[in-house]
Point group: C2
Chain length 201, copies 2
């Protein structure tokens, strides 16, 4: 094995071990030594690859956020009426809930720390801002094309994102929720149609 291959391998082993530990114990509660032990790697190797404990977390967070961002923009640029695009976007909730099971609390914990560290703030809040403004545009599109009622786009976007965040969060923190198949789509359908009885039985 070449040097570079070896290096990459240990790096990913550290990353994998870190996500496992952080998920199980939380960020603060896991020591660097824990990660090293789980990765089967020495502390020297750890600090050879990462400047600090926090750097591991950013390395973990960044690709995840990027993936999310890509999925959103993909769904947003589809040539469909706004409601359909929204429903399609709703499947994201399922994906994030499924693959992010235990990781979400961890990211939440990290988000908390972000308030202190500007470098982390950038990595977390900036994608979120883009995320929400994407929704604003989506709603504006829908209103313009007449597929959506003339609602306040900012408010609607906030509600949409809130719904998504809330669903993912509840799925992560209390998995006993009455989820079932296609939770995201069904939830968004409720929002699209409304729940008041407009006369129909």
């Amino acid at each position: 094995m070449t040097n570079d291959e070896r290096s990459d391998a240990t790096r990913t082993r550290i990353l994998d071990a870190a996500v496992a530990c952080f998920t199980r114990e939380g960020y603060d509660a896991t020591s660097v030594s824990d990660v090293c032990r789980a990765a089967g790697v020495s502390k020297g190797a750890f600090y050879h690859h990462f400047d600090a404990k926090q750097a591991v977390f950013v390395a973990l967070l960044e690709p995840w956020l990027a993936e999310l961002d890509a999925a959103v923009t993909e769904a947003l640029t589809r040539r469909q009426p706004a409601p359909q695009r929204l429903v399609h976007l709703a499947t994201l909730v399922n994906r994030v809930t499924a693959e992010g099971r235990g990781r979400i609390p961890m990211f939440l914990e990290f988000w908390r720390q972000a308030a202190k560290d500007p470098s982390v703030w950038r990595v977390t809040v900036e994608p979120y801002r883009r995320f929400r403004s994407s929704f604003v545009r989506l709603v504006e599109d829908g209103v313009a094309e007449g597929s959506l009622r003339p609602v306040d786009p900012d408010l609607a976007a906030l509600v949409l994102v809130s719904l998504g965040v809330g669903l993912v969060l509840q799925g992560a923190l209390d998995p006993v929720s009455p989820a079932g198949q296609g939770l995201g789509e069904r939830a968004i359908a409720l929002l699209l149609e409304g729940i008041t009885n407009g006369g129909a039985s």
Copy 2:
């Protein structure tokens, strides 16, 4: 000052200092000594009033949750149609967002730890479960009385709570959201009416 008054005073000073520290630094990051220093109290006094660091957190969390629970049951037992009760309930979002500004991330962080400690799990998740089942009953009522469409009560309740959680969370983590007055009511109105264009201009 009597002994009891003195005791209560220091206890509340510890609690106040704790919420300040936890809010600013996070739970794990604040040491007991930090809290003591901020409260102007010795470590001995601290451990005289609380068994452990965690006990402070439960003491902080419990009344807050109880207050929330009381407000919910109050709104839920009103003799009104379900939609009105929902709108009234929506004002809770404003209250929680306002008075819980910096505290929510802290509670979130604690919720994360709750997964490990059963005693904490009870205090946090149990009220949440009650919370959600209250919503289920509310929706069932609405469907029964005909004010709400015959939607799945479990799903609707999940969506409602998600919306609330999401709104509060975003308000807390990124206060630059386009909130404005009566955000909760306006959000719930959107959900009640739906956002698709049903033919009306």
